[in-house]
Symmetry: C2
Subunit: 393 residues, 2 copies
């Protein structure tokens, strides 16, 4: 029995139709989609099953995509997708981490043969997490006459502009982000162990709002603190916060796999003047970049607005300051397409969504204040409403 | 400034020494380790940075491994590993999801050249999540004279027997699993939304115990319920539990990335006789399998003890019923080496650890009661102490 569907069938049909258009433009006879976010985008499939190999195959001619996964996950596909029974194919459990010479991609190759594309041009997501080197060599071995093409971002670029329903879920995720950030800031303080703050955040991330719950985010709350605010991807430990600790919290609410990330920085005790000044500069730069974002502007120009603002104060940041995002599974909520950085010529269009996170990391200290924004018809709209300032704990 | 270390330096030295032995046995000049759990095992590196490409390289001759990652994660390596400065190498941010023809594996290839193994035999974790097809083709392109060998499980097989300190962390994780399971069972009930139960579980997973906090588990709580208990990898929704719903909870506490998974099943209302009988059979089969586990016995014999027990009652289960596990990052806490299933000839040795999860999924209903166990000198010891029965909510 299917679960309540997250999108109506027509939305999936539009997504699949656009994928087929791209296949025709690139003269591809099929694409094997391995990224769980792309699998979800094309079929609605949702389950924590991406630790085994799975795929969605789209061809220009077949009406529906075909979902391929492990036998015990076939019912998950029946529960979460609109796909007809003949479009759900499950391989037997002896393919999983097999001590024998048997691999799930052998089964995928069989489906490609059945689809009559074994000697065709087949797109693969060559650089997607979970599409392993072995997956590739097994497909090559099974289908020696196929011509494989790198189509890593073919579906990703379709995802960059969001539909009204997608934006609704991202706005719902933003409400959860606000609640979880407030819970984290409220919990932080001198003598409190980092994990207690993480626990308060997590409870709120999943408890969501009064109206709806939250899904698990594709990235856990990132909480570098003290000496380690310069290392943005640390999580939490048993350490207790001390007077004088800066604490970064980067998190995202998640609703039906859609995210709206948010980062803020707090300080245990009285913040030093320099940190307060840095915060003011980050906010000024962030707002300059948000002001620069509108349809027709390149991603690189948005970064330039940030950089020229902070350079007035002698600050520099060499990394990218943002990326397109929305739907996602671990390890990432980013879409891996457009980045807000020098050299990225992507032109902004209405309903693209980005997480702009212009962290400043000096030798001593790190500071992050971020916003998720949607490109509107005339500018940019942030999804969360949360004060942009340095907090104290 | 380094964080407090999780293991003393000697433990990492032993792990690296054993890795070097295996390299020599297999006549490999280097291994490029991509699995985040293996990277952690060899160096202690811990951070949510595996959404970009990274690696640890070990050669038979170089004293330390070399950690390779993104520039902004270099300080994370300094904070969490014992590695010397010259063993930490960071690639510039323009390698990340680059619109130009630039890939992190180009940088890794440079390190391999520097290590003088560009024309050597290099082991790769061909089927590890995050070692993508593109990672492989970029290494091939950069190092045309290298001979690449599949070494996916080389480090994994070293991990299968746990040290005393590893077992201590798994026991700590088991305490967290017990607390989180109790929180979940207490929260479940008629009219309660699934996400509220997930929230209660998550809060406890991270809050841990009175003595220490919990880390994020490599797999989120899995909570199929109602019509969907046959689909083991579904998570939670806004649906409210109804009278007559079976509810499976599979979760794991995590301590310093070490897990101790636990699954139980509860029932909203008065369970039907058939379900109660099935629970009794599952427990009997689970206990028969635990009784069969001891040093010298094959994994396949443990599965046989389960299967012959449940077959007396006319039940069958075709999937594997357990797997070696411990240290892990999303998407999996399993080690992908030994499985408890027919045909797996792995011989049990003391201090191997497994999650035995012999789920029964019939057309109508699913039931899971699992245990994590350690092989002792004479038998098997379960890490968690939690009643083995069908609960009611």
């Amino acid at each position: 029995m299917p679960r309540e569907h997250i999108f109506d069938e027509a939305e999936y049909e539009r997504r699949v139709a656009r994928t087929k258009e791209r296949l025709r433009e690139r003269d591809l006879d099929a694409i094997v989609v391995s990224d769980p976010a792309n699998m979800n985008y094309l079929t609605g499939y949702d389950g924590w099953s991406f630790y085994v190999h799975q795929a969605v195959v789209v061809t220009p001619d077949r009406d529906e995509p075909i979902w391929i996964g492990r036998d015990m996950d076939g019912d998950g596909a029946r529960a979460t997708t609109h796909l007809a029974e003949e479009s759900i194919r499950a391989y037997s459990d002896d393919h999983v981490q097999s001590p024998r010479d048997l691999h799930p991609m052998d089964y995928v190759a069989g489906v490609l043969e059945e689809l009559d594309v074994a000697d065709g041009r087949v797109g693969l997501e060559m650089d997607a997490a979970y599409f392993t080197a072995k997956s590739y060599t097994r497909l090559q071995g099974n289908l020696p006459d196929a011509e494989f093409e790198d189509a890593t971002l073919l579906v990703g670029w379709l995802r960059i502009k969001k539909s009204d329903q997608e934006l609704e879920y991202m706005r719902q995720a933003a409400r959860i982000s606000e609640n979880a950030m407030q819970a984290g800031l409220d919990a932080a303080g001198e003598g409190v162990p980092e994990y207690e703050v993480a626990s308060a955040i997590y409870q709120q991330l999943i408890d969501g709002t009064d109206e709806y719950g939250g899904d698990y985010p594709a990235i856990v709350p990132l909480m570098p603190s003290g000496d380690h605010t310069g290392t943005p991807h640390l999580t939490w430990t048993d350490r207790r916060y001390e007077d004088g600790d800066p604490v970064i919290i980067e998190l995202s609410g998640c609703r039906h796999r859609y995210h709206s990330p948010l980062a803020r920085t707090t300080f245990v005790g009285e913040p030093p003047t320099e940190l307060q000044e840095t915060a003011d500069i980050v906010v000024e730069g962030l707002e300059a970049a948000l002001d620069a974002a509108e349809p027709g502007v390149k991603c690189s120009a948005v970064e330039e607005a940030w950089r020229t603002t902070i350079e007035q104060y002698g600050l520099e940041k060499e990394d990218r300051i943002g990326y397109s995002m929305g739907l996602g599974y671990p390890p990432d909520w980013g879409e891996h397409t457009a980045s807000i950085r020098p050299g990225d010529d992507t032109v902004l269009e209405e309903n693209m969504t980005f997480h702009m996170i212009p962290g400043i990391w000096t030798d001593d200290i790190g500071m992050e204040i971020s916003e998720t924004f949607r490109v509107t018809s005339t500018g940019a709209e942030t999804l969360a409403e949360f004060p942009r300032e340095l907090f104290t704990a």
